[in-house]
Amino acid sequence: MPTGADPHPALGEAATRGADLYAPGYRTARRPPGVKVVTFGLVLSALLGVLALAAVREVASPARQAAARPALVPPRPPLTVAEEEYALALWPIHNEVKAGALKMTLGGMSYKIGELDRAGLKARIEKSEETYREAARRIAQLTPPPSLVPVHEMYRDAVRLYQRSAVEMALVIGDGRDEHLVVAQPFSMEASEKLLKVGDVLWPNEYKPN
């Protein structure tokens, strides 16, 4: 087919015939445009302009660019049955350790801001120490699958660090020097990071958006 030839000649003819049929309309269109037509044209142009501007802004908006999601990180393989069993066995111990750590930290905070006396702090530390001792005993009874041995050791380290922090904190009860609390806090912080590291492997949904 030559370039420019009408692929649908019949349709073209119909269109031509149609134009003839509306010949009276052409006569009307040849008149100078009235105010109404001009106003309508202006309003229509303005509306189209606004629409075009909105479309351009929407496409160029930085928020829209950000909304384009990058490729998601491929999901991690699920835990094996043995790993799952270990995670389930450690979970209740983890709950106790976490609660003990939070209570000890809040105890130090309450003491420091004058809401807890030394006797109260002593009781708090002793209770957390007991929690850590019991946790260490129960963790020692667990046998992790080979793939989780590093995680298991990390958790044991975390409990040891909390214990060390508790021992250091307890010194303030004897001499009243707050420096012991300052020395103790980084051990607790390190232990808490290890808890998160273990949690990232065993319980990736431990913390939810809130």
Partner: protein, 333 residues
């Protein structure tokens, strides 16, 4: 015919004029006295959160054409406020830092706050004050990265955690609930590391335990919003050139919620207190436009006008320039 056309044009002009006057009337009058520059920084984004989990009244109904119920999931930003005055650099909330060991499934676009602030020309040592709206992990992280900053936390927040942990019923005292996760028990949102960081500020003498209201800089006021999200939630009023702003952290999780009077992000939330916190913003700012929400899905878009002057920063996280004090230069790239 011609007369009618001119009448139409006249009506259109009149309509436009009325619209312009109405728009001007809605724009808050500039605050008197000291005003601050304000930016909003997206600490990270929680992707694909079921809308109904965030706002019960917006729960997805398959097949619904009701705009309130036809959205399945939303992406929730974690917003941090940056407030700059002549001699002040204040953060409202401090977000959280994604680490190799703390990734939070379904989170994207996270970046360390210190790095994000650098793009605004702010060094970590410049930050003088951090007001945490509450102590949950995604709002009170990274505190130790700002060594000069004094932390402001409500006493009631600390007491609330203490109360929960020591409650005799273990179901209520639980720091974790179902195996592998934590639902919405009162102590769920506070990992030991987050409390360790708050404790670090207390130990270094850089914490102020707030009881109720407090003015922490000229015109910058803390308002208690206890139980509006957690036991010791607090708001922050900030005067700016576009009027007063009120930051609400998770008491103001959703800006649409404030606008439509719907609760959002129910955690340890007394819904009546959350509504009273919303009302506080209406009273202080004269409406809902200047209420700054922590997790509003429309953040950084035209649909949340306060935050529309936005751009994309580190790792796809977003920032918005909300208001500039006289003499302050724009940080928008």
């Amino acid at each position: 015919m011609r007369k009618r056309s001119w009448l139409l044009v006249g009506l259109a002009v009149l309509g436009a004029a009325i619209g312009a006057v109405a728009f001007t009337a809605q724009t808050p009058a500039p605050a008197q006295g000291v005003v601050y520059s304000v930016w909003l920084v997206e600490s990270s984004r929680f992707m694909g959160v079921p809308f109904g989990a965030f706002m019960p009244d917006r729960a997805f109904v398959p097949g619904s054409t009701n705009p309130m119920n036809n959205i399945n999931t939303v992406d929730l930003p974690v917003n941090v406020g940056v407030i700059k005055g002549a001699n002040e650099l204040i953060l409202y909330d401090s977000g959280w830092k994604q680490q190799d060991y703390f990734k939070m499934t379904g989170t994207e676009h996270g970046a360390p706050l210190t790095e994000q602030l650098k793009t605004l020309g702010i060094a970590p040592g410049d930050v003088k004050k951090i007001v945490i709206g509450h102590g949950h992990w995604d709002h009170a992280g990274q505190l130790m990265d700002f060594p000069n900053a004094v932390l402001y936390v409500q006493r009631e927040e600390l007491r609330g955690i203490e109360w929960a942990l020591n409650y005799p019923n273990p179901k209520i005292a639980a720091v974790n609930t179902s195996p592998g996760g934590c639902a919405r028990t009162p102590a769920c949102g506070y990992p030991p590391k987050t409390l360790d960081e708050i404790y670090g500020k207390v130990l270094s003498g850089k914490a102020v335990i707030v009881d109720g209201e407090m003015e922490i800089a000229p015109g910058v006021k803390i308002h208690p919003a206890h139980r509006a999200h957690t036991a010791g939630s607090q708001l922050l009023e900030v005067p700016t050139a576009i009027g007063k702003l009120v930051f609400g952290s998770d008491a103001y999780s959703s800006w649409e919620g404030i606008r439509d009077w719907m609760i959002a992000n129910p955690q340890q939330t007394d819904t009546v207190q959350q509504f009273l916190a919303y009302e506080k913003c209406y009273k202080i700012t004269g409406g809902y436009q200047n209420c700054v929400a922590a997790h509003e899905p429309l953040s950084y878009t035209e649909k949340y006008p306060l935050t529309k002057n936005s751009w994309v920063g580190l790792n796809g996280s977003r920032m918005a320039e909300i208001s500039l004090a006289p003499g302050e230069k724009s940080k928008k790239p």
